[in-house]
């Protein structure tokens, strides 16, 4: 029943939330007199019920679904009539077969993430996918609830700096034991989750969790296919939309609120003024989550969202340390329980670079990113020597090249 309601009425302007608050339990809903329901629905949403709606008389008998992993069947009640009362679309989605590894977690289940219960209109049913056994699945859900969770969000077309910060945060937060949650969108989301996946995960551990704006079996965007599979294998793919539901622009704000609900902190890496990242942060604010923002270059379009948040009092985030500090000491100690070894220390660079030309190039780059010609002018070396030095520094990971041929020092030398 939850499933069905969830399919039909996901994020329908708080309708479900209001109904739940009035009636407490989805089951009670179904046994209510349709007339009262209609009034409640109309009162809640401000619309009048459709005249002449043929509600079946008396209570409707419903087959109750039991347990979180029960297979979803079409309820044998007069669902259509029920739907019509609430102006809900008909029941096609449940006919989709369940994909491999797919499970349902509903509002009434114990494993339902506690964070989501705080939402004003929570998803009644989560469609979760993970390629693992039942015990592991349970373990992962529990970890989702217990580990300090951080949502890392940002632009789909970040700058090289944003890419670097997303990867850095994704990796360091996971290494320190926090759980990184994001939307599997291109850009910041994907990079943060890839970085989280780059660290080894124990078998019953949770690498990362992704909240999707489409059915949990729909890969969107298509370029993230491999990442999708990885998250399914070592993490959780969560969606409030039923199997097979395609991605549509208007589903993403809904997904953002779920992300904010799951997390204890939201970090915005880069984003334009009216971006989805900003929306997620706003949801987080409403829920009382910690909001952090990574500063960017002044005046750039992609710095608009984080800087706007900083102006409003969000905490500055330069590294995973800042995030964990914002989460508080309790979260920090909890995170330490799950902390893992970071990437191989052998990647750390040798103390002194290989030659004086590399040293000179590094010194010049200390002042900020420069193009190859500018480095040449300031170093008083030949163009050939500068190119050679830059290549070597790139191999060592100390320097990275932007689009447009500018080079800058990297933040952490072991970054690939």
């Amino acid at each position: 029943m939850c499933v069905w309601l969830a399919c039909l009425a996901s994020y329908r302007q708080g309708l479900i939330g209001r109904l739940l608050r009035t009636y407490g339990d989805p089951d009670t809903l179904t046994f209510t007199d349709p007339a009262r329901l209609r009034k409640a629905a109309a009162g809640a949403s401000g619309r009048s019920g459709r005249p002449g709606a043929s509600a079946s008389s008396g209570g409707e008998r419903v087959t109750r679904e039991g347990g979180s992993s029960a297979h979803a069947q079409a309820p044998s009640c007069d669902a259509a009539a029920f739907g019509r009362v609430l102006h809900l679309p008909p029941l096609d989605c449940l006919r989709q077969p369940r994909p491999a590894g797919g499970r349902l977690v509903t509002w009434v289940d114990a494993e339902y993430p506690p964070g989501l219960r705080q939402l004003s209109d929570p998803p009644l049913c989560l469609f979760v996918r993970a390629h693992c056994t039942e015990e592991e699945f349970g373990a992962r859900l529990r970890l989702l609830a217990t580990r300090p969770t951080v949502a890392v969000v940002g632009s789909r077309a970040p700058s090289a700096y944003g890419e670097e910060m997303a990867t850095l945060l994704g990796r360091d937060l996971t290494a320190r034991g926090a759980l990184v949650v994001s939307g599997l969108a291109m850009g910041i989301d994907a990079l943060a989750q890839e970085a989280a996946l780059s660290l080894p995960t124990p078998a019953d551990g949770l690498a990362t969790a992704a909240v999707l704006g489409c059915g949990a079996d729909v890969v969107y965007p298509a370029t993230n296919r491999r990442l999708f599979a990885d998250v399914g294998g070592r993490g959780l793919l969560i969606s409030e939309f039923a199997w097979g539901v395609p991605a549509r622009a208007w589903r993403f704000p809904a997904r953002n609120r779920v992300m904010a609900g799951l997390a204890q902190a939201v970090v915005v890496v880069e984003g334009s003024e009216r971006s989805g990242a900003r929306l997620t942060a706003d949801f987080g604010l409403d829920l009382g989550r910690e909001i952090l923002a990574v500063p960017g270059e002044a005046g750039r379009r992609l710095s608009a969202a984080p800087h706007g948040l900083l102006r409003q009092g969000a905490a500055l985030c330069e590294s995973a340390d800042d995030v964990l500090a914002a989460l508080g000491p309790a979260a920090e100690s909890l995170a330490r329980l799950h902390a893992r070894q970071p990437a191989k220390p052998g990647d750390a660079p040798s103390g002194d670079p290989r030659g004086s030309s590399s040293a000179r190039v590094l010194a010049v780059l200390e002042r900020g990113p420069l193009g190859a010609d500018q480095i040449t002018a300031q170093c008083a070396l030949s163009a050939a020597a500068v190119s050679a030095a830059l290549s070597e520094l790139e191999i060592e990971g100390r320097v990275r090249r932007h689009d447009g041929g500018r080079f800058r020092l990297t933040h952490s030398a072991s970054l690939p």
Binding site: R156, A157, M186, G187, T223, R300, R301, G371, A372, D373, Q374, T376, A377, A383, A384, A385, V386, S387, A388, A389, L390, S391, E392, E394, I395, E396, G397, R401, H402, D403, G404, G405, R406, P416
Partner: protein
């Protein structure tokens, strides 16, 4: 009465022998041309008739049959006007072929209605074929004479109109043009014109272009609008080694067939620079059409083919670039014939980094949505990108940099270095047949370019950390070899390899 005149037809880049026979008999008046003539050749009848009458000769009412032998070769274009007219005049005994007994005179040219001779394309190829056949000399329009005089061993008689041609025929040819001195023509190329010294700043790009030219590597330049990509590309021919006599003739032949030569500039003395618009069709770029003509790749033979707005070119046209880039020639097959044009060119492609052009720019922000960026990047893929050895960023320069740069090197200085590097490459490559490092295939590369232990270690680390592919590694080694040649070093050093790595292909904006 039957008369015969030798001539030639253009087949691709070669002239093929054509004999014009005219037969005049007393019968019902008719004038027919046989031998697979095309429309222009059929129209010769009108032109020849009018020219003969207007030149003061007679056109009696007889039955005239003109045969252009061999009968199974398609004859195209108006260049048979003159031989047909002369053959007719010979057949009606209005002129007698005189002159020396050995050899005969051929004729080529288009006639106007007043008898004036007009130039025709492909004269160089035609003249060469006539000489090969052992003919003594040729009667040509004056406008084509200079071009034909590039061929040694053939007497060239320039004529302006039909009357003069008849006179020459009658006396067996007098006043032949002196053969042109190709070497002197080449040496007399005036300096001036574009030069590398015009470009201020962009030292890295210039260095990379020097390497590209030295090793005949193909280049892709990426940068915002106005950064100087076209300006630099246009100056590339000036740092390429000068054309040798044979090379100049080879280039002139192609340009002649395409009808691009000017009467007072019969020889192409500078390396060609061709810059087709990106809407060009596949036949336009590669060559072809119903009667095959050379395309831009052939017109850029031994020069530079500059493809600006590279991602905007049609995929079909770009696909056709493979054969020229791999083999240095392009073969166009038709139902009856197949023609091969040379196309050993240096490809220089230029593009903006993204559709709006400003990705990575210092001042302006890129406003392209993510999916358009991916679409744009996906247009550059696969085998064509594999042929491009050097990927360059051409940023926009600050005004201060442009003014503050010390006086840039002139093209002549750079050209001297390039010539030395080329000489070293030839000496080393020798048996492999590759003229330059870029043309080395994989086995030759391994044999010819040896890497010492330090270089191998560096390359391994680069392969690992920079995520190179195996093909990319080969390209890096080739370019490193060219850098070593420019340096005069006997073998590749780690510094050469490191510099070569900076010209590798980077990943696209996403998913690097």
């Amino acid at each position: 009465m039957l008369a015969r005149i030798d001539s030639a037809a253009l087949a691709g880049l070669e002239g093929s022998a054509v004999t014009v026979e005219a037969d005049v008999v007393a019968a019902a008046p008719a004038f027919s041309i046989v031998g697979l003539p095309d429309a222009a050749v059929q129209e010769s009848r009108e032109r020849v008739r009018a020219a003969i009458v207007n030149s003061g000769f007679e056109f009696p009412s007889r039955r005239i049959t003109v045969n252009l032998a061999p009968a199974d070769l398609r004859k195209e274009g108006p260049s048979f006007d003159l031989p047909i007219a002369l053959a007719f005049l010979l057949a009606t005994k209005q002129v007698e072929a005189g002159g020396s007994a050995h050899g005969s005179l051929a004729a080529v040219g288009e006639l106007g209605l007043d008898g004036v001779l007009r130039s025709v394309p492909g004269v160089l190829a035609i003249a060469e074929s006539l000489r090969r056949r052992g003919l003594r000399g040729v009667l040509l329009p004056s406008a084509n004479a200079a071009e034909a005089s590039l061929v040694r061993g053939l007497e060239v008689y320039a004529v302006d109109n039909l009357r003069q041609a008849v006179r020459q025929m009658a006396c067996g040819g007098e006043g032949a043009l002196a053969p042109a001195d190709v070497g002197a023509l080449l040496a007399a190329v005036n300096s001036g014109g574009p030069d590398f010294t015009d470009v201020r700043g962009q030292e890295h790009v210039k260095r990379a272009l020097e390497i590209a030219v030295a090793g005949a590597h193909n280049v892709l330049m990426s940068g915002p609008p106005g950064s100087g990509k076209t300006m630099l590309a246009r100056r590339l021919p000036t740092i390429m080694p000068e054309l040798t006599v044979d090379e100049a003739i080879s280039v002139t032949r192609v340009h002649s067939v395409a009808g691009l030569l000017l009467p007072d500039a019969p020889l192409v003395t500078r390396r060609p620079f061709r810059s087709p618009h990106h809407t060009i069709s596949s036949p336009g770029l590669i060559g072809g059409g119903s009667s095959p003509r050379p395309g831009e790749v052939s017109l850029a033979h031994l020069g530079v083919l500059f493809l600006d707005e590279f991602p905007e070119f049609r995929l079909a046209a770009l696909e056709g670039l493979r054969q020229p880039l791999e083999e240095g020639e392009v073969t166009i097959s038709r139902r009856l014939t197949s023609v091969t044009y040379p196309a050993r060119l240096m490809l220089v492609a230029a593009m903006n980094p993204c559709p709006c052009g400003y990705r990575g720019d210092r001042e302006r922000e890129c406003v392209c949505p993510a999916h358009r960026l991916r679409q744009y990047a996906s247009r550059l893929s696969g085998p064509l990108m594999d042929r491009i050895d050097l990927h360059l960023d051409v940023p926009r320069l600050n005004p201060q940099v442009r003014h503050a740069a010390r006086t840039p090197e002139s093209s002549a200085t750079i050209r001297a270095r390039v010539a030395q590097a080329r000489a070293r490459q030839l000496a080393r490559a020798g048996a492999t047949g590759a003229l330059a490092n870029a043309h080395l295939d994989a086995p030759s590369l391994r044999r010819v370019c040896r890497l010492d232990a330090e270089c191998t270690a560096l390359l391994d680390r680069a392969y690992d950390r920079l995520r190179l592919s195996a093909r990319a590694c080969d390209r890096v080694v080739k370019v490193a070899q060219t850098i070593a040649d420019l340096d005069g070093a006997p073998s590749i050093s780690p510094a050469h390899l490191a510099e070569s790595l900076s010209y590798r292909q980077r990943g696209t904006a996403h998913g690097e």
